[in-house]
């Protein structure tokens, strides 16, 4: 299943034993509430290595995913009797066109607990949160939103978000937190973006006021002020450096490059397209500058072909290679 990783990324599978252990912790957690010592054991297990924590994060993500499925729909769909008989399948295709949606239960009562939101490659989406805050999802993004009495939590599972926070209407002024695979980002003001780079690193860019980064395995916080950006992993955050933008360019549908290597530029452009966009190593070191419109990435490729000594080979629309002319 394609989940937005437009370009292949190195992926080391976790040892099976760790996955089994995470699963058995989940079984224990679900069987009954953990006692204090058991909870401490779980915390110790999680902190044994980044891989342990990664497995546990996957467990939480899975719970978020399945928790977003209404029971009545899930039961009849996931519990269906599946037959490979081709005639049944063909009949089912005919049936597809006829069935019409009727209604829904409780789906939109959501401010109470949690919800998942997602965008496909090339799409963007704005979500208005119940406290007046606003989230903008960039391409190929998955978030899980959990507001409770104690905190306003947005979990970034994949992709990139632009967060504009509002003052919390609750008396206790719940903190607004973006949880990522590498740690947490606390809103100290109004506007910032958080991007999962897909390699364990997270980039935070602040546009108004400030945000605080708390890497998962670090005791110290890094404050990023308006006009600055920082990249962090589970251990540490880089010192904030200027980013030169008034607003995140992608929220205006723009991709801006300033003397950028072609391979890096295409990797960036590839995030906004379904399928595969490859750069021949022979042209990787060419440089490119400009402001490009994200709404038509094919046109961007045409522009590149007309300004650089390269050729755009469209084997299919989902498989494009940029090579030497």
């Amino acid at each position: 299943m394609s989940r937005g990783h437009a370009l292949n990324q190195p992926h080391t599978p976790l040892p099976k034993a760790i996955i089994e252990e995470a699963a058995s912790w989940l079984v224990r957690v679900e069987e009954c509430r953990l006692s204090k010592p058991e909870q401490a054991q779980l915390d110790t297990w999680r902190s044994q290595s980044p891989q342990h924590e990664q497995a546990w994060q996957a467990a939480l993500q899975f719970k978020g995913l399945i928790g977003s499925v209404p029971a009545c729909v899930g039961n009849s769909v996931l519990g269906r009797q599946y037959r490979t008989d081709r005639r049944t399948v063909l009949k089912s295709i005919a049936g597809l066109a006829m069935a019409a949606p009727a209604g829904w239960i409780a789906w939109e009562q959501w401010p109470s607990l949690s919800a998942d939101y997602r965008t496909r490659a090339g799409a963007q989406r704005q979500i208005d949160l119940p406290d007046g805050s606003r989230l903008m999802l960039n391409t190929a993004t998955l978030v899980d939103i959990r507001f409770s009495d104690a905190e306003r939590l947005v979990r970034l599972l994949e992709g990139e978000i632009d967060v504009t926070t509002a003052a919390d209407p609750f008396l206790n002024k719940r903190p607004f937190i973006v949880q990522t695979g590498a740690g947490r980002v606390y809103a100290l003001g109004t506007r910032f973006t958080v991007r999962d780079m897909g390699d364990g690193r997270i980039r935070v860019s602040v546009y108004e006021h400030a945000a605080a980064i708390q890497p998962a395995l670090s005791g110290s916080e890094t404050i990023v002020e308006a006009g600055q950006a920082s990249v962090f992993d589970r251990q540490q955050a880089t010192s904030p450096a200027p980013h030169h933008y008034q607003v995140p360019p992608w929220t205006r549908g723009q991709l801006i490059s300033d003397n950028q290597r072609l391979d890096a530029f295409l990797a960036e452009l590839g995030r906004y397209r379904p399928g595969i966009l490859r750069c021949d190593p022979a042209v990787a070191e060419l440089h490119i500058s400009g402001v490009f419109q994200l709404k038509d990435t094919d046109q961007v490729l045409d522009v590149i072909a007309s300004t650089l000594p390269v050729r755009v080979n469209r084997v299919t629309n989902y498989w494009v290679t940029v090579t030497r002319q």
């Binding site: 995470a22 899975f62 499925v69 269906r80 089912s92 789906w107 399928g275």
Partner: protein, 166 residues
């Protein structure tokens, strides 16, 4: 360039054949074309550029991948049908936006793919727990097996799903 070319030669030489292979099974030329493209994309993704080697029996190789995609395709169709039936069977209430419907459908596809290889009783216990929120004891009673067996089932279900999440 030469390596990328060998992938492209594979496409050029076999895409027509592969499309007609799909068409004879699906009946629909558009779906056949889509699946043929998906097959090549998968070949490309699985075979890192640096390790690309010419295939000795390209069609046999393509057929294995194509077959897997076809099974997935049937499975997705059956899921979509169940989904629309489930939506149609719901009582009138708040309507769900088209976009949320789409998202839910994708979530269902994703979970379905995780559960696909689980044995039937494991899958059943897993869904009773995760969707219905039944306790292990309640599931054990309903399925007439021991709580220990249910825990084993749950362990198996979670392991499989976590591996797929990572």
């Amino acid at each position: 360039m030469t390596r990328a070319c060998s992938a492209e030669i594979l496409y050029r030489d076999h895409s027509t054949w592969l499309q007609s292979w799909f068409r004879s099974r699906l009946g629909c030329p558009h779906q056949a074309a889509d699946l043929a493209h998906d097959t090549f994309v998968r070949v490309l993704v699985q075979h890192d550029e640096c390790r690309w080697q010419p295939l000795r029996k390209p069609r046999a190789f393509l057929r294995i991948i194509a077959n897997g995609l076809l099974v997935d395709h049937y499975r997705r169709r059956s899921l979509e049908r169940s989904y629309l039936e489930a939506l149609a069977a719901m009582p009138e209430a708040v309507t769900i936006s088209l976009e949320d419907k789409e998202i839910l459908l994708e979530t269902l596809h994703r979970i379905d793919a995780m559960l696909v290889t689980l044995p039937e009783p494991v899958r059943r216990a897993f869904l009773l727990s995760q969707l219905e929120g039944l306790t292990y004891a309640q599931i054990a009673e309903q399925m007439r097996v021991s709580v220990r067996t249910i825990k084993r089932y749950m362990q198996q279900g979670f392991s499989q799903c976590l591996a797929a999440m990572l």
